[in-house]
């Protein structure tokens, strides 16, 4: 019997964190009156800059996800901030993307979220909509200086009329590749206005040259782009279902990709599963021509590959309609934070301080503050300048983004991964995958009704 008890304790330990929430539920209310008090008090304090008349010591918890280089410079920026505001002590909490969200959810349940939370577009409506995040609107202009930040950049963090996250960098999608490897396919340059058909044809030559062309597409991002080029959207505006209902769109997008995998022009899922990190990425190792990903990821890739890489546009037709600028990530302030005003000041420092941004560079996306861009750009590596220029180009050649992902997006993304993996292993036909994805995704999203 003791054994069983032990089993229980371990099997159910997972739920221990959740159990606390019942008692903690009332805490949310305590924060709000304090918040309004802080907002008015903050404007005078904020303008005085340093606040030298012995402000009370404050401890802020700041949480983010990322890889080692990001952890390193973020800690440096935090150090910089603590020197400027000696009364503030910052406790960093960082992890990789997957672990980050597993840690954050129980913290939310226990009303113990860090003061400042790096937020992702796939989770912001879930956290914001469930009352975990502070509306940042009152802090704009008073504590967070937005003189050099466009309204467009800010509104990317809005759910309805509430600003649940402050955009800390702009991103868009593109193709990043090694020009030398591309030449081995008998092509010197990529056509400015290439189409999906051009891409299939070119990628189809990769296996003959002993290469992979790319490592596939993150479905929720790139199928989303594809749908936009067709005037459709991945999610319906109210987030209670998928935004399209014609399975043919799914088939048209995924069937050619599955074929590339089957023909050996793109790696099978098990080959990708064995990539441990950027260091042994197939492109870095010279076995793959290019990679489809976000602009801010170009720099790390370039750094690790340590040879000239290029960037290129998404395939068309209707690229301008499909392409969009996206907040690569946000900083949000948790509702349970006891120091919202101080947290807002940190965000202000993060987006507006030029010296800080010389460390941040473009790792979290191109800065939103135009003055910061001007000041930082001359100090950047050529690779980063390319990223900044590309985003500037995309500003003129894209369409407004879709609203942030609805709650349940994490489950939809997992489902996407599952069906595309099955397709790439040749275990599921694109037709069946399309049907299964549509039905199960709609069932997940229907919970938002």
């Amino acid at each position: 019997m003791l054994l069983l008890t032990a089993l229980l304790a371990i099997a159910l330990a997972a739920c221990g964190g959740g159990a606390k929430s019942g008692g903690g539920g009332g805490n949310g209310g305590e924060g709000s009156p304090q918040a309004s008090g802080n907002a008015s008090g903050g404007s005078s304090d904020g303008s005085s800059g340093g606040g030298t008349k012995d402000p009370e010591p404050v401890t802020l918890r700041v949480a983010w996800w990322g890889s080692q280089p990001r952890h390193d410079y973020t800690l440096q920026v935090i150090e910089m901030y603590q020197q400027k505001y000696p009364h503030v002590k910052i406790e960093p909490e960082y992890a990789n993307f997957d672990d980050y969200w597993k840690k954050l959810a129980p913290q939310a349940a226990a009303n113990d979220l860090p003061d400042i939370i790096q937020m992702d577009i796939s989770y912001i409506s879930q956290y914001g909509g469930n009352g975990q995040l502070e509306d940042l609107t009152p802090y704009l202009g008073s504590i967070i200086n937005i003189d050099h930040i466009s309204e467009n950049a800010i509104s990317g963090g809005k759910i309805g009329d509430k600003l649940y996250g402050f955009n800390i960098g702009v991103n868009t999608i593109q193709f990043q590749y090694d020009p030398e490897l591309l030449k081995r396919l008998g092509v010197d340059t990529l056509d400015e206005n290439w189409t999906w058909d051009d891409y299939y044809e070119l990628a189809g030559k990769a296996s003959e040259a002993g290469l992979y062309f790319d490592s596939g597409f993150r479905p929720e991002v790139f199928f989303g782009y594809y749908l936009r080029t067709k005037g459709q959207h991945l999610y319906s505006p109210d987030g209670t279902s998928l935004g399209y209902d014609d399975d043919q769109l799914f088939i048209d997008f995924f069937a050619p990709l599955a074929k590339l995998v089957a023909d050996g022009d793109a790696p099978t899922p098990d080959v990708k599963a064995q990539v441990k990190g950027l260091e042994d990425d197939l492109l870095v190792k010279g076995q793959q021509v290019g990679i489809w990903q976000w602009t801010n990821q170009f720099v790390a890739l370039q750094q690790v590959a340590n040879r000239p890489l290029e960037m290129h546009h998404m395939p068309g037709p209707n690229r301008e309609q499909g392409l969009y600028l996206k907040p690569s990530m946000y900083f949000s302030i948790s509702k349970n934070s006891k120091h919202k005003e101080e947290a807002a000041r940190f965000i202000d420092f993060w987006v507006n301080d030029i010296e800080a941004n010389k460390l941040i560079k473009g790792d979290r996306g191109v800065p939103v503050n135009s003055q910061v861009i001007e000041a930082v750009k001359p100090t950047l590596d050529p690779a980063l300048v390319k990223v900044f220029d590309y985003v500037a180009w995309a500003q003129e050649n894209s369409s407004p983004m879709d609203p942030p992902d609805p709650p349940g997006a994490a489950e939809v993304i997992a489902l996407f991964k599952e069906v595309t993996e099955a397709m790439d292993f040749g275990k599921l036909s694109p037709e069946d995958a399309a049907k299964r994805f549509r039905e199960e995704a709609n069932a997940i999203l229907a919970k938002n009704k």
């Binding site: 054994l3 069983l4 099997a11 159990a19 879930q126 009352g131 975990q132």
Partner: protein, 300 residues
């Protein structure tokens, strides 16, 4: 009056002494168990308070979730292939170590080592690399003229990785077997030798029967532990249970439900179903044990 007070005081002192355990048990074991039972009847996403849904989670599990059955299947293969292999291996090594040799202490330590480090993340990562397309296992296969196996492409091959890892961590069962072997009176073997019994006969007629209580203990402990295996599956499949759910052990699916999809009510219900399954199997083993376990004290 004072006598009663003294007695009461003694009781209280007793409770004070066991309070560290008592509090720990109540806070970290009893309360979570009760909370999880309650949550299994609710819909709870961590953000909004749990809402009572009765048996709906259990109903979904049994009638509307193919993944639940898939994970159950994977887990049963893992347990029913892994545990017997692990126990046989442990017994084999225990037999080898149960002999006089000057270096025996070193051997015992060396063979026990994998169990100490076995549950760790580092070993799981090492295991991943051993089985990689360019890993040691495939290199060895190639050396013997065999084709490489794509361990990460085939659901069953990937599960095999997990099973071999569990077999490799035979140390704790081995130690218990070893203790059991030491307890068998040498006089039995001497008598058998005099009667002309060979090694195999001695093993079958003496060692095995005398060892059955230890086998029972190991069998139950290892079965329960196997059902709860989580870390290797989590690390080797990078938290997803792939390829094609081949390594989606029950506890991993439970974890994904809870912490990736924030579906705590469902995860709690899954935990209770697992408890029921393990309890049932344990009861079954106990029930059959009277037919195969030999206790010295029982005269018949």
């Amino acid at each position: 009056m004072s006598m009663r007070f003294a007695a009461w005081r003694e009781t209280l002192t007793g409770y004070a002494f066991i309070s560290p355990f008592l509090l720990g048990f109540l806070i970290f074991t009893a309360f979570p168990i009760a909370a999880s039972l309650y949550l299994s009847f609710t819909d709870y996403n961590l953000f909004s308070p749990p809402s009572w849904v009765g048996l709906e989670q259990y109903q979904t599990m049994f009638t509307g979730d193919p993944k639940f059955w898939k994970s159950l299947r994977v887990t049963f293969i893992y347990v029913f292939a892994g545990v017997p292999l692990r126990l046989s291996f442990a017994l084999l090594v225990a037999l080898l170590l149960n002999r006089a040799s000057r270096a025996i202490g070193v051997y015992r330590t060396v063979y026990y080592l994998p169990s100490i480090i076995g549950g760790s993340v580092a070993v799981s990562i090492m295991w991943r690399n051993l089985y990689g397309d360019e890993g040691v296992i495939n290199k060895a296969l190639n050396f013997f003229g065999l084709e490489s196996v794509r361990w990460f492409a085939d659901p069953l091959a990937a599960l095999w990785m997990l099973i071999t890892l569990s077999v490799w961590q035979f140390g704790s069962s081995m130690l218990i077997f070893l203790a059991g072997l030491k307890n068998i009176p040498p006089s039995l073997y001497e008598a058998a030798s005099v009667d002309g019994a060979n090694v195999l006969q001695r093993f079958i007629r003496i060692t095995m029967p005398m060892l059955t209580p230890v086998v029972l203990f190991n069998l139950i402990m290892q079965t329960i532990a196997a059902f709860m295996t989580f870390i290797p599956a989590y690390i080797i499949s990078k938290g997803e249970g792939g390829p094609l759910d081949g390594t989606l052990l029950y506890s991993l699916y439970l974890f994904r439900r809870a912490f990736v999809f924030y579906d705590m009510g469902y995860a709690a219900a899954m935990a209770w179903v697992l408890l029921a399954i393990v309890a049932l199997l344990t009861a079954l083993v106990f029930f059959t044990s009277k037919y195969w376990v030999f206790y010295e004290t029982k005269e018949d």
